[in-house]
Symmetry: D2
Subunit: 454 residues, 4 copies
């Protein structure tokens, strides 16, 4: 336990402090499988690259995130952690972070939208120099305020608006002038941020951590792939062998989910809007068809597109009795639950933990897992520590990079520097006991030259 100074209670909002012991065990268990982050933590503890900086991180509050929080704290940051998703918070972990590590946490499993945005307001009130986001919720709130467009804040976001209204319009524009930069962890968030950059409203540099190969090659593919299936099986105890599993979206996450579903014996059907990805899926041996067709034959549906209403009224109406539906995309908008409810004559929540039954007017039953929220976090434990090790090592190093380049980075979306990626991958390999080749001087010269041929 690196620190035992208690965080100010004004900066904490957790549900079950009595679970701290269990949380501590979980944090330590995850830590064993996060050796790259541990090495960085040791160096940060010596070098203190983040001293004097306030940070706000809006992330899934899990045992893996706890180890990132410890690392940032070891580096000297004054960190406040809030949840990026109401269902993913592990209350025991939150409790241990507060009690054992003295880190400020405002996150409660199952919190409603009001509480969620109250926590966002608390994070803003922390007046961070650096933020970390998982879906760009924190950044977008800051942007809306900074461009004085409080009207863009939805009714859910009332606590944020109220906080902002404490300041005059003029003050608001200055509120985030101290921001050094922000890290973004998700595909969804990066897409939003690039749109902001395009529209000229991005006011500070953002590092697209998600786009690092050490992140999305591994986290999105292997992490989402396994943990999505894990969440589904925990929730349903479904045998995948012989089932028709429909995966909507064949990006990195969709590739991972499809591969794992096949690896467990399912017959996978992919739906896509991109012809290139659709063709890739077909060449990978998957059946490809529009959702309107897939809806009729699927046993299990998994959305991972980053878009909305992928499964909607017209699809529910043709599904087989007993169809299972879930989402592993960032936001809970991929399944149109409003339409589903409208078609439902009898709703039975929790026929199994995290499984709700919708009996439709046509007599068929549809089961929604995890209320349409990220199924790997709602019904399982999110990504395994081993893969978060890489993502969070990249997060920590990108943060350090941001600080070192304070004032030098333009207000746009930046890639993670290649050296950081190479370092993370190289260290990870070493901790796995894997040695690789080095180019000989001769080969390096060959690779750099254009003067030889057939």
């Amino acid at each position: 336990m690196s620190s035992t100074t208690k965080p100010p209670s004004s900066k904490c909002d957790i549900a079950r402090p009595e679970l701290a012991d269990q949380g501590l065990r979980r944090i330590r268990w995850a830590d064993q499988d996060m050796p790259v982050l541990a090495q960085i933590r040791e160096r940060f503890a010596r070098e203190k690259p983040l001293t004097g900086l306030r940070m706000a991180a809006c992330l899934h509050v899990t045992s893996e995130t706890a180890n990132l929080a410890r690392t940032l704290q070891a580096g000297g940051a004054d960190l406040m952690l809030i949840a990026s998703n109401p269902l993913s918070t592990q209350d025991d972990v939150a409790a241990s972070l507060v009690r054992d590590f003295g880190i400020a946490v405002a996150a409660i499993h199952g919190e409603d939208a009001q509480t969620y945005y109250k926590h966002v307001a608390m994070a803003l009130d922390h007046r961070p120099h650096i933020t970390m986001d998982d879906g760009a919720d924190l950044v977008s709130a800051m942007i809306f305020i900074a461009i004085d467009r409080l009207d863009l804040l939805s009714t859910h976001q009332k606590p944020v608006r109220e906080w902002a209204e404490r300041f005059s319009p003029e003050q608001r524009k200055q509120l985030f002038n101290d921001i050094i930069g922000s890290m973004e962890e998700t595909t969804t968030g990066v897409i939003r941020l690039r749109a902001m950059e395009r529209d000229g409203v991005l006011k500070f540099p953002v590092i697209a951590v998600n786009d690092a190969e050490t992140k999305h090659f591994f986290d999105n593919r292997y992490g989402t792939g396994q943990s999505t299936i894990d969440g589904i099986i925990r929730a349903t105890n479904l045998l995948l062998a012989g089932r028709k599993v429909v995966v909507a979206g064949y990006g990195w996450c969709g590739k991972g989910v499809s591969l794992r579903a096949r690896g467990l014996g399912a017959q996978v059907i992919v739906t896509e809007v991109s012809p290139i990805r659709a063709l890739e899926a077909a060449m990978d041996g998957f059946a490809v068809m529009p959702m309107s067709e897939a809806a009729r034959i699927g046993d299990l549906f998994i959305t991972v597109t980053g878009n909305k209403h992928i499964i909607r009224r017209e699809h529910f109406l043709v599904m087989k009795d007993g169809a299972l539906v879930c989402n592993s995309g960032h936001f809970d908008v991929e399944i149109d639950l409003v339409a589903l409810k409208e078609e439902t004559v009898q709703f039975t929540p929790q026929v199994r933990p995290e499984v709700d039954e919708y009996r439709l007017k046509n007599g068929r039953r549809i089961y929604v897992i995890g209320s349409g929220r990220l199924v790997n976090l709602a019904a399982a434990e999110g990504h395994p520590a081993s893969v978060m090790d890489m993502s969070f090592a990249t997060q920590a190093l990108a943060t350090e990079y941001c600080v070192k380049n304070r004032g030098k980075l333009a207000p746009k979306v930046h890639d993670v520097p290649r050296e950081i990626e190479e370092y993370v991958a190289r260290t990870k390999l070493a901790t796995m006991g894997i040695a690789i080749d080095e180019m000989t001087p001769d080969q390096k010269a060959y690779a750099a030259s254009w003067q030889h041929g057939t």
Copy 2:
């Protein structure tokens, strides 16, 4: 047969005109599996976008390439085709191209380096407005001449130098002023061209056709994957199940080869110099180790790195008796055959067609397939038509794009425009009978917006 005007004999050099019937059958067989290219050919025949332009293409002279040549010709181009690899030329196809389609071809299966470069000189003498390359051999010869660095031409390239020396240094610099642009088909070539761009010697725009997703996602992965294994099995009749297969390089080609070797039951070992790719290979379930270790245990070695001397003296010396070695990277430099020969006490060529036996001083035998040249072309028929359909459709459309933007493209390496890729993929899907989803207006708005959140 779109044309029967005979090409001028000064522009032809083929080995076996009597095989034209067989060549025609092969071209037609391939054509059946190249429906996207066929659609473009039909449009080109109507619209003639390449009228009045001389083209030189340095490609593998196979039945698939023949259908690209027919397409360019249909578009109005005055095309000359030469071989990009001495072992890949299908003499029957070359014969049919000349006899049945009136296309100028200079390519002979098994030609020596002198003949190879004589053909390059012939292509230069065609004074092309547009070139197509598979490994940048044609482009680099032009560049060496245009920057008046004839010293960079190796002794093998004497015919090219002699051709260039017909012109004064001043003339040489102007020789290629008419070039509209060049297309490049390989990873290897693109790397060379980017190095040229970096060093400021690239004198005209190049389209990196290789980098199109419709090319390298499919051709490098599925094409090289299957055809490499095909070449090895044809040459050896080896059962892959249960063998230790060492794949050097985990780029797109290496991924494809590894996947297919596993798909046939092999235990695959990957070697890499990039830690990120090495980690990806490990996460994909492959064993990863340095070549020095892999050399001791492998039954079959396949190089696909794009670099040189991947398998060298130190590796040969520790290999098991009977080890099989081959290359599927672009150039034949990945296996150090010079070192192998120096360690050899008895050399028996062609113990099977395309398999040479090297008996080493240590008594062990090593078998080299296809003389270390691209094994899928040396011992099989190269990429299947279906995948070349996409690569060559992209080539044809990139050529048209180049012409339409004559004078507007800077002298650097350009990406294939996204619309071309989308068109190729969409058309390919349609010919496969696969329908996909379209975004709803609502979804398009969602994808473009940054104003919504959790």
Copy 3:
């Protein structure tokens, strides 16, 4: 709920009657995925083939077994159900069986050996005409008594001995004269029963349900495969991609586990004692080596051999720090926990639920999942309902077959009749919406004939 007659309390021993509601939901959830068994249940309810018969079933008390119990009851049997494994009992299911279905159950999750054998004694006291076994515990107790070899009952089995001692030696020999037959569900049990048959002590017919293709092809392979991995991931949240997973045993269960581990990205190593199976594993692309070698490099070890002490002292001593060890074979003897404890300097139970830490004298930590008991039952929910549907449909029909052939079956191990297997498979396919071909009369004649040739 087919019956609400309460079972006599003398025949019940359950832990948590208050969980019956939750148990009922689970039973119904499983029922949705057991359509073949449901069809049989409907027929049994009409035809009552088991009327007047007492049955004792020693099975894992799960929601799937509950649906088998309901089926036997629907057929008219007076059933008593006890647990075949102390850790697999789902207390909520047991509670619902008693309250909602009036079935006698004696099974408590986590019960000690005394209680376990007390329940066996209760089952014997039920004086069954027919028994069902999962590991031959019930049958072997009956045999020991019937051959008057009470000395073979271990000290754990004291309650059974005491029960038997209520009878005189002469009476004991007659005790089980009414037995019509017994069903056996596991490979382990069938091996024991065949050994008994060989040694001439088997006193009544046994149907080797395990050996039915509708059982072991599916349950052992797909069921054990998925649920073993499920148990491991629930217990550890381990990412399998890139791990070295050692699977001891390449029988049907081992094949399933290996396939699924690979399907999740692991690098699988198989150990075997049978050269034929070892060769099969190698040809399937797995690394094969002795445990002494595998022990040094594995990250995760899974035993599924049916034998004992597969992982023993010499192996623990060379394992890497952090190695995970578990068992998915029937008995908890595959991992030599006694030896492990002797080498341990610090034991920390439950560092995660179902994970115990053993810190060895050499400083390394070894983690044992599920105390070395069946990991899919200890840490997950056992086989998915869909696969148990087939096993239990076969069980139910084999029971009916036994009764119909009362007195006609010799006292040995019998195969499940082919027609039963065909019926189960055909019905399962129909419920999955899969149609298949029928042989034409011409083809039937061809298949039966030996009079045609090349």
Copy 4:
């Protein structure tokens, strides 16, 4: 070369003696990958277990078979070899067997039915003590004669009838009294022989070599799997990725073919008549449907059922334009070519080597590979040597077993003794450098006992 005594020319009928050099190279190449057979050959050469015995073998005349022939000869047998399939004979190998090894061979690539049965008659005339069969053609001819049912010989088999008619009916019954036994290599042959046994006409013991696990686990699955795909790709250069491949039959061969097709990226559809196998295919993640449905959507069809007319008129009529059809079952009756011809308006043979085009009345084209004969032998080189090593090692040892038990084996179908299988597998593993575990004495006792439990 173990022997150079020329075989009597009356016992030889080969096509191209001038190819002996090439044949010898092939035999040696295969020999390198048949180390188990080589060990047996060395022992046979010392022990001469077959001295004084005449043998007739009706097998595919390939380089692998040549090494079996050498082994039998080394054991002292007076061997005559004929072809079991008109298209599989490698004329160069036949030439080398005669010239370099002095083995009698009557086999010509592409021979017609008359010649085929002339060779069968020559083999009968050799008056063998032991026969080896691949499809039971030799055995069934002997049986028809021995039971004096010459009417069962078809018109094709006229040469056999004529040979038989040289003897009186009485003599015929005695003709094969000297037979010690016969070996059968195929599933198809074993089914025929079991039907003969059932009908009481089997006159001598037959060893079902096919049923040995060392044979069908490996040869049928890995051998047929790879070589079938190999034959298809050589014949067509088809990219399998993204294709719908229909595999008819999910026995060992069908499993192998399906696995390999998937391994190359195809989307595999299985058709079956057995519900159990159909269910297994579904659980393995394949699409399962009747041929009438599959026929409409397949790109490539492969039959491996052992039955006839699997693809027939009704199927051809609904196939897509360009559908490819081939067979990898033993006999060429699985595809109804007669019906196909009747529906054909234009037949173009050999549009590629081994590919015939049938243009139907409906305008669509269907391509038949290898004339519907075993595609792995017609268009490729049959099973790789490595897998034939095991099959033929089992053949050689089964032959020795037969001789050692002369007069002791009943006239029925016998299994290969388990010790032979274990020896072959153990030796194969050793030659692959793979060590495995041995049971400890403790484990052996445990495995044999029935006296322990939970």
